[in-house]
């Protein structure tokens, strides 16, 4: 009995330990940019974000004036009883009593610091990164050497609104169209019904790449390219097979009696659709809406092709990709921008996780 208990305890330790390890592994990447987005521009560039945790670091306790001490950087120097060349001091020389002597800067204008190793945290948090990324105006930065750089803001505000303008209709329109179609497939008889539904099923996994070149030609001919309508319709077209298929599965399981009594009372199909089917289908509509919304919000390829030429209409994903391309090493902007782009999907995700999971189980995965 005793050994059984022990084994159980060990087993639970193994299960929870492994699980915890995996959770930590999965969370660290996001945590890293979240923390970094609040760190100061210079801190991000010179130290890892994990320095917000307590760690030991060399910090200056005293400075030595080069000319006063009469040091000649071209030869062997003696500082605080330690001798070494300029290169050695530049890399830092540790003294026997636990201190470090480091030459900061170049040979002529540099200085010498005596440093001690102390426990510290790097908690220089700021909201400045977000201000710069969101705003459209210019920002000034003072470098440590006194020069000032002017950096344009990244105007994520505009991109955010554009993404909303694209994502909301691109979510509602396909759902509306698909629900009408699902209703017709489920509760109406008409010639070609089976053939049309087979088309829907066949198109479920067709890669959207197949349609991009012909559609771009149509859009150019119709002068639609670069408009919101163009991208709404594109997302509608690409999301429609799955939407129709899933909503058909749901609408066709609604109880038949409700419809029959409504028709006996003289209701038209349109009334039954708006008054009965739409309200009854809310759970299924919500599940699919979450997926379509996340998919459209996170889309990059479709936006790149149909909105690509017009910077006015740039979406969040395009803006982010542009910052990666133009200033790939300015991590204070990239991290803040990435978080701005994630805020809404994460809110939707946490707020509606129940529907999200339900949608997944119903098969809400785009082909």
């Amino acid at each position: 009995m005793e050994s059984g208990k022990r084994q159980k305890l060990l087993g639970s330790l193994f299960v929870n330990g492994t699980l915890l390890l995996l959770v930590v592994l999965w969370t660290i990447p996001t945590l890293g940019i979240f923390v970094s987005s609040f760190r100061n521009r210079d801190d991000i560039a010179t130290s890892g974000w994990w320095n917000i945790l307590p760690h030991r670091e060399w910090q200056p306790v005293r400075e030595i004036d080069i000319s006063q001490a009469g040091l000649d950087p071209n030869g062997v120097m003696e500082i605080e009883g330690i001798s070494g060349t300029f290169e050695e001091f530049r890399a830092g020389v540790e003294t026997p009593n636990g201190k470090r002597i480091t030459w900061i800067g170049n040979k002529r204008l540099g200085k010498v610091e005596v440093q001690e190793r102390v426990w510290t945290v790097s908690w220089n948090f700021t909201l400045g990164n977000y201000q710069q990324v969101l705003g459209g105006q210019n920002f000034e930065f003072k470098r440590p050497d006194g020069t000032v750089t002017i950096v344009p803001g990244d105007n994520m505000n505009r991109a955010f609104l554009n993404s909303l303008t694209v994502a909301i209709p691109s979510t509602v329109i396909p759902i509306l169209i698909a629900t009408f179609a699902a209703y017709a497939f489920a509760w109406m008889k008409f010639p070609g019904r089976r053939g049309m539904f087979i088309l829907v099923v066949a198109l479920l996994v067709v890669p959207l790449q197949i349609a991009l070149v012909p559609l771009l030609r149509d859009y150019k001919a119709l002068n639609l390219n670069g408009t919101f309508l163009a991208i709404w319709l594109a997302h509608t077209g690409f999301g429609l097979p799955l939407a129709t298929y899933l909503l058909y599965n749901y609408v066709s399981t609604l109880p038949r009696d409700i419809f029959e009594s409504a028709f006996i009372d003289g209701a038209s199909h349109f009334t039954v659709f708006t008054q009965l089917v739409l309200p009854l289908s809310v759970p299924a509509l919500a599940s699919f809406a979450i997926f379509q919304f996340l998919w459209v919000w996170n889309d990059y390829l479709v936006a790149l092709i149909f909105l690509g030429g017009n910077p006015e209409f740039e979406l969040v994903t395009q803006r982010m990709a542009a910052i990666v391309g133009a200033r790939g090493s300015e991590w204070h902007l990239l991290t803040a921008g990435a978080f701005v782009s994630m805020v809404l999907p994460l809110a939707v995700f946490f707020g509606l996780q129940r529907y999200f999971v339900r949608g997944l189980l119903a098969g809400s995965v785009k082909g």
């Binding site: 639970s12 299960v15 929870n16 995996l22 959770v23 999965w26 969370t27 990447p29 996001t30 890293g32 940019i33 974000w49 994990w50 554009n162 909303l164 303008t165 909301i168 329109i173 509306l176 179609a181 209703y183 017709a184 109406m188 008409f190 019904r193 539904f197 087979i198 099923v201 066949a202 198109l203 996994v205 067709v206 890669p207 197949i210 349609a211 070149v213 012909p214 149509d218 408009t227 594109a234 077209g237 097979p241 003289g266 038209s268 199909h269 349109f270 990059y300 092709i305 969040v316 994903t317 982010m320 990709a321 990666v324 782009s341 994630m342 994460l346 996780q353 999971v357 997944l360 995965v365």
Partner: protein
């Protein structure tokens, strides 16, 4: 309702009936015309206006969503004015028509058009000629583009190899991690919270994920403080920092640093489906296994995996299709440089950067052919459903 209406009409004078008929016809024509006019004005406003952005956003949303709803309402209204027979005949098409029209315009017909384009050279079929003339023009190259696509050692050869790596490593590892996490979570008291954390990356865009992982892979020359986690770790252990995805010396294995991102994103998806499937295994089955002396590993491999086999296959297929079309991650992280091009990035480059519509279309058709087995399977499953 209809009976009452008919009686009411019969009681009216002839003039009144004609007037009401004219009125109804005028109404039937004018409502759609006014609606189309308003919608068109909305379109022009959105395309050309300089109004503040928040207003444009609001107008666009109302215009787009409202416009579609109004169109349905109008067509329904028009059809409802027809006689009973015509109404029953036409109404289904009011409901199903828009969906079918969009599917045809956006997916079905483009498939044929892309195939047609793939038979011609970079500029596509010459304009202003009929089909026969196009076929006999110099621009017609037959299967030439496909020959180029499958040419050993060519551009696409590399992309196919990389995509194969994506499919093999991406799907296998996503499924394995998803399964391991689902099984562990099932036995843990932290199930809910652990699953939320693993699942969270699913809400993040590929572009966002690329930034997140670029930050982990960030490279600084040796001697400088490493701000990227992986390089800090490697230098901490005494290794050399590397710009991981750009590390051409280890090609094609540098692709793995990109594939990790998709595993990170997709494991949560696999986990949720497996978790639900595992909960469907009858408790008695597992108990019986334990009583017969099976250890936990035997239970996992001999009972659980066979039981949820169907789910595993469908999750696997989904992730395979998904990695087959992978684009954003590669495009943002490396742009296809350093030997990381995949099918979809080459498709984009050939179609839109090099403007070679023939070659690009041939690549798209290859993508389509790759998913045909899944399409066939879906259709066969559908045929088995007797209800339809």
């Amino acid at each position: 309702m209809d009976l009452l209406n008919n009686k009411g009409e019969q009681n009216q004078s002839v003039g009144g009936r004609i007037l009401s008929l004219i009125g109804r016809v005028l109404l039937a024509i004018s409502i759609p015309l006014i609606a189309f006019y308003v919608l068109y004005q909305g379109f022009l406003f959105l395309r050309d206006s300089n109004a503040p952005q928040i207003i444009i956003t609001l107008v666009a949303i109302v215009w787009g969503v409202g416009g579609v709803a109004i169109l349905y309402w109008i067509f329904n209204n028009l059809v409802e004015r027809l006689s009973d027979t015509w109404r029953t005949r036409l109404l289904p098409f009011v409901f199903v028509g828009p969906a079918m029209a969009i599917l045809a315009w956006y997916l079905a017909i483009p498939t044929l058009r892309t195939f047609w384009l793939s038979l011609f050279d970079r500029n596509g079929p010459p304009k202003g000629l009929n089909v026969l003339q196009q076929l006999s023009s110099d621009a017609f190259v037959g299967l030439g583009n496909y020959a180029e696509v499958f040419q050993p050692g060519g551009l696409m050869f590399l992309a196919f190899r990389n995509n194969l790596m994506w499919i093999i490593f991406g799907s296998t590892l996503s499924v394995s991690f998803g399964l391991i996490i689902a099984v562990l979570a099932d036995r843990s008291r932290m199930e809910k919270i652990a699953k939320s954390f693993i699942f969270l990356p699913m809400a993040i865009s590929f572009v966002g994920a690329s930034i997140i992982w670029n930050f982990i892979y960030e490279y600084r020359p040796p001697g400088q403080p490493q701000v990227g986690l992986l390089n800090a770790f490697v230098t901490g252990l005494g290794g050399q920092p590397q710009a991981w995805p750009q590390w051409v010396n280890i090609a094609p294995w540098n692709n793995l640093f990109l594939i990790v991102i998709v595993i990170w994103l997709q494991a949560g998806f696999a986990m949720v489906l497996f978790s639900a499937a595992l909960k469907g295994i009858p408790e008695e089955l597992l108990e019986a296994g334990r009583i017969d002396g099976a250890n936990e590993f035997q239970i996992f491999f001999r009972i659980m995996i066979p039981y949820i086999q169907g789910t595993i296959i469908s999750v696997w297929t989904t992730i395979v299709i998904f990695t087959l079309k992978i684009f954003d991650v590669v495009w943002v992280m490396t742009g296809g440089q350093f030997g990381t091009h995949v099918i979809a990035t080459q498709f984009y480059r050939q179609s839109f950067t090099n403007n070679n519509s023939g070659y690009g279309s041939a690549i798209a058709i290859v993508l389509l052919i790759a998913v045909i087995p899944v399409m066939y399977y879906n259709l066969r499953q559908f045929r088995k459903q007797e209800a339809f």
